[in-house]
Symmetry: C2
Subunit: 408 residues, 2 copies
Amino acid sequence: MAPPTDPTDPAYAAGLDAADPLGPHRDLFVGAETPLVYFDGNSLGRPLRVTGERLRTFVEEEWGGRLIRGWDEAWMDLPLVVGDGIGAACLGAAAGQVAVGDSTTVLLYKALRAAVALRPGRTEVVLNRDDFPTDRYVAASVARELGLTLRWIEVDPAAGVSVDDAAGVVGERTAVVLLSHVAYRSAWLADAPAITAVAHDAGAVVLWDLSHSVGSVPLALDDWGVDLAVGCTYKYLDGGPGAPAFVYAAARHHEGLDQPVTGWMGHADPFAMGPDWVPAPGIRRMVSGTPPIVGMLALQDMLRLLAAVGMPAVRQKSVALTSYAVDLADAWLAPLGVALASPRDPERRGGHVTLSHPRMREVVAALWQADVLPDYRDPGGLRLGLSPLSTSFTEVRTGLAAVRDLLA
Amino acid sequence: MAPPTDPTDPAYAAGLDAADPLGPHRDLFVGAETPLVYFDGNSLGRPLRVTGERLRTFVEEEWGGRLIRGWDEAWMDLPLVVGDGIGAACLGAAAGQVAVGDSTTVLLYKALRAAVALRPGRTEVVLNRDDFPTDRYVAASVARELGLTLRWIEVDPAAGVSVDDAAGVVGERTAVVLLSHVAYRSAWLADAPAITAVAHDAGAVVLWDLSHSVGSVPLALDDWGVDLAVGCTYKYLDGGPGAPAFVYAAARHHEGLDQPVTGWMGHADPFAMGPDWVPAPGIRRMVSGTPPIVGMLALQDMLRLLAAVGMPAVRQKSVALTSYAVDLADAWLAPLGVALASPRDPERRGGHVTLSHPRMREVVAALWQADVLPDYRDPGGLRLGLSPLSTSFTEVRTGLAAVRDLLA
């Protein structure tokens, strides 16, 4: 019998699942056995099944058993060890350039302050009017305190910043270009290497927000010549609600990295407790306070899995999932007035798909009642976050069928 | 038979334990059954036995089961709910004035920036030359970026800042008085209400670092008229390594509180994702990024216990423990050249005792080999952190006997 060719056919989804080399990984996640449809892995990833027991064991054996000795034995280095793990598995970053700790907001503040300080005399920060609020708010705060001007790139909300958009705004006054690699609403995947080159050609540095791409889209920060980046670990890295963020700074900038939240853990010799703050060599100077050890546990399980699977395979699955969602939206939802608010070209699309309709807020509320959990983002956007290792094609079909039934 | 009167007699310690109304609580902590002597509860408190299972359950049922819905159902409010819990159990703070999140360093930075902004035109920050490094480093960074002058109080390292010390330095140029309530080396317990009054008389605001007092020394921030405070939760609050810190700001200041790390979670309406950052009403404006939910779990167990026991009983036990340590040091260690580097008056002493000797660094290294775990702090300080609910008098005697044997 020929395989089904109609994407709306349940057998079509089942066929995609059967042929999916990453399909079996779904069972590694808590809740995979339930009928719940989860489209919010780009907001809060599911925990791995091993993670709960890992946290219990940590409390009873490592924290409770090693007590203060744990700092010398392992924890002191953990921000850089886990940072290196993220760098190797997901970022294309050689060791010694990534540190974990703080929230994305705090790291963005520190990284932007450091980035601006790398370009003294320059007066502008370039960013996207449609970017995630925290990025805009933090940039506005830094601009206010340092007397900088924000230069906004205006984009089509269903797309994102193109290389030409960036080139049209970046200039000799630009200190920093601060952009999201994957846009939180549209999933637009920016051409990071080309935009980085545009910034460098103008003498500026780039600060990429990788929150919506890390663990979903392959990154090659070293190869792309990226200066600084921050990202979040509770989305595709499954670090748990409020898990600490990471910051990347290219080794060539370390000597001059100057950030203002100068705590003892970023000091060259924390236990000397000397009179003045002396920055630690390397990326450690971006660390401020005592590292959040418990918050770094869960994401280490996901990093091991991502390293084993490899980001190219993750991306392949991600593109297949989002393409399937687009196919179903074309077939079922376009006739009901739903518009695709994400790039149709998978080359320019990250790991989620946004579908817009004037009544989508109500639809999302009803979906939640039916144990189908997408996200809602103004204006009228149903956001389907399709975490590659924990989402099946059948789950995509079930969820979009529910959207269809509600709108019909 | 009369009870023993010699504090070095093992029966004396056993008698104190038998008469201790809080003695049975020790068995609630992981590791209480082991022979290890733990004198570092002021650096990293022991976990409660219930905490490991709580974390496992959280991962599997709340994070894994509720997924993104957890934010609406509970987590969004957790920084203020747990903050209120700390405020009620430990700080003497009415609801709505405490938020949990970030490291102590980051909160100190934000709180100091906010404190300085409350006193525009004033140019000085007063602090203690012997205070914890992060406090000095962060103040130096803030002074550098805002063009302020640091005014140092010079103190006897075995004591701390007296009311007269403060009055001698605070003046009409003082914007903020930043001091530790309990000194990290000497355990000097500052007279917080009187020093706060000195600051207020000069028109300045106070920012207290409560890291070494919260959960050990009763606090009455509202009654004392404190303006701002920060503190740490991994010491006497047993929140786990790197657990998030808290910030207190008196309600009268909320309207004018201006901190620079302006993330979406401190916005009046985070999900509006509007063009400008509008501070949330109340203490929430001190929140920056997505709150560290997993990191806030453990300390909630300890808060429940502290609330049930009550801080006066905790302080009574704490004074008894430190006084017993001083008695043993007098009897055993003074003859060996060991000096008490903490206040002898329990009214001016926090929850730890520091004993100094030129060879103390070697002694501490040898103690660790023998499963007796105090801390070492330059110069020559053996620091005995005696966490009131998890330390027994017999443990104190065993540990100090080991110090005696090593020095003899």
